[in-house]
């Protein structure tokens, strides 16, 4: 579905920004589209979008870590009258990064990316560092000398643990979660290969 005009672009940007838990950089937004959209084009759409939201209770704002929708302070008192909200949740990306650091420490960002199969947003590491749950404990002696992350004492006490080995042991999930989202496309050779593989599925 290619983007033909700025109205379509604005709809997609609005949808992505409203649904994202973390602020988005222009770079992130470029990844939304198959075709390559120029930064100027995106910038213009964001400016228009910001104007469109004038006079509402929510605004599009540019903060240190990117663009995000946020409630305008004048409307906060309405929202405060609702029940105290349930505490927010970390995104899956944050939780998985934390799990990898907890179970595999000390690890570099590269290690985390290798396990997760996707690049690790700087914001995720920042979030965990600001919470004082992870810290840099050294550098690996390879080119670039990447930082090695480990969990902190704060992390253990916030999770009510005395030591890391009190973390739940990792039992294989078995076949409850389909490991292969394309199981419809399996062919015989693949199936037999899986069957003869020693690792449990």
């Amino acid at each position: 579905m290619p983007i033909n005009n700025i109205s379509e672009l604005k709809i997609v940007l609005e949808t992505a920004l409203l649904s994202s838990r973390e602020p988005l950089l222009i770079n992130d937004m470029q990844r939304l589209f198959e075709e390559e959209l120029s930064i100027e084009f995106l910038r213009r759409a964001l400016d228009e979008l910001r104007d469109d939201w004038q006079g509402r209770g929510v605004e599009l704002a540019l903060v240190a870590s990117g663009w995000r929708f946020q409630t305008r302070p004048e409307y906060q008192h309405f929202i405060n009258r609702l029940n105290p909200e349930k505490p927010p949740k970390y995104s899956r990306a944050v939780m998985e990064t934390l799990a990898i650091i907890a179970y595999k420490q000390p690890v570099t960002r590269g290690d985390i990316e290798e396990i997760r199969g996707v690049t690790v947003n700087t914001q995720i590491i920042k979030t965990l560092e600001e919470r004082d749950w992870i810290k840099v404990v050294g550098h690996r002696d390879v080119p670039g000398r990447p930082a090695l992350y480990a969990t902190t004492k704060q992390f253990l006490s916030d999770l009510n643990l005395r030591a890391l080995d009190e973390l739940p042991p990792l039992v294989e999930l078995g076949s409850l979660v389909d490991p292969n989202p394309h199981s419809g496309e399996l062919n015989l050779a693949e199936l037999i290969e899986q069957a003869s593989d020693d690792s449990p599925v």
Binding site: E85, M95, R140, D141, D165, E172, N180, D197
Partner: protein, 265 residues
């Protein structure tokens, strides 16, 4: 999957071109286990056999189905008995129904005035199961939060103030999600012992933060017992192997020193 398959004859499956199946649906023993994995149980298999032959569930030819089903179970039994237990139970049921059908019909009517058909109960179960199978697919196809759409919750002051709460179980869940996505072939096992070593590695790196040399012996706390000493020692070895620390000793039996790699840079 591996448990229900002998690896040796598997090569035979690969070696032989099993493209055409005869009418009786015979499946070579080695492929059978692979094949059976696709089924959720005996009812699922039975339904499949019936559907494959384009039979009306309400009019199952018991003899044919039982024979065919027994072929499967026999093959299964030779490779893995425990998997076959539920299937064997079904086989017993099939045979019971078949034998009851061979007996002269008792002209006994039930309340609804119909002559009881020994197949009735099985048919009822098959239909109910198939109904649920279709229902499962329907539920699967419904738009689902997180997969087909996202719930909106933009940033607000209140949300910013409260910190998310995390339970140890959440970490495990996050990890399992990762493993599931990473695919079936990669196995991540982290034993308790390995964890202790990992934790000790972090502590040692932390102790070396100043960048100075520390004497090897300082890193050990004999008061914590022998397992702790062993774990600490393993941690130092692992750190050295991963080139996170440098270990030096100027002469034999002289003190051993440890510092962070490239601490001088």
């Amino acid at each position: 999957m591996s448990e229900i398959i002998d690896t040796q004859p598997l090569a035979l499956v690969n070696g032989e071109p099993f493209t055409d199946l005869p009418q009786d649906l015979y499946i070579p023993p080695d492929a059978l286990a692979v094949y059976l994995n696709a089924f959720e149980g005996p009812l699922d298999l039975l339904l499949y056999l019936i559907r494959r032959h384009n039979l009306d569930v309400l009019d199952i030819p018991m003899a044919d189905i039982t024979r065919q089903y027994m072929d499967y179970v026999e093959l299964m039994r030779s490779s893995r008995l425990d998997l076959a237990a539920e299937y064997l139970l079904m086989a017993a049921l099939l045979i019971e129904i078949k034998s009851r059908m061979l007996l002269p019909r008792r002209l006994q009517e039930d309340e609804t005035g119909e002559v009881e058909d020994p197949r009735a109960e099985l048919v009822r179960r098959l239909l109910e199961y198939e109904q649920m199978k279709i229902a499962a697919q329907t539920v699967e196809n419904k738009p689902r939060e997180g997969r087909d759409f996202e719930v909106i919750a933009i940033w607000g002051e209140e949300a910013g103030k409260l910190l998310p709460h995390v339970e140890p179980g959440d970490l495990r869940a996050a990890w399992l999600g990762l493993v599931a996505r990473a695919g079936a072939h990669r196995r991540h096992t982290v034993g308790r012992q390995e964890l202790s070593v990992r934790e000790a590695m972090g502590q040692i790196l932390d102790a070396l933060q100043t960048g100075d040399f520390l004497e090897f012996a300082c890193l050990f706390d004999p008061g914590k017992g022998i397992p702790h000493l062993v774990v600490t020692f393993l941690a130092i070895l692992e750190l050295a192997r991963e080139r996170m620390v440098e270990i030096t000793q100027s002469a034999a039996f002289s003190p051993i020193y440890i510092r962070l790699s490239h601490a001088d840079q």
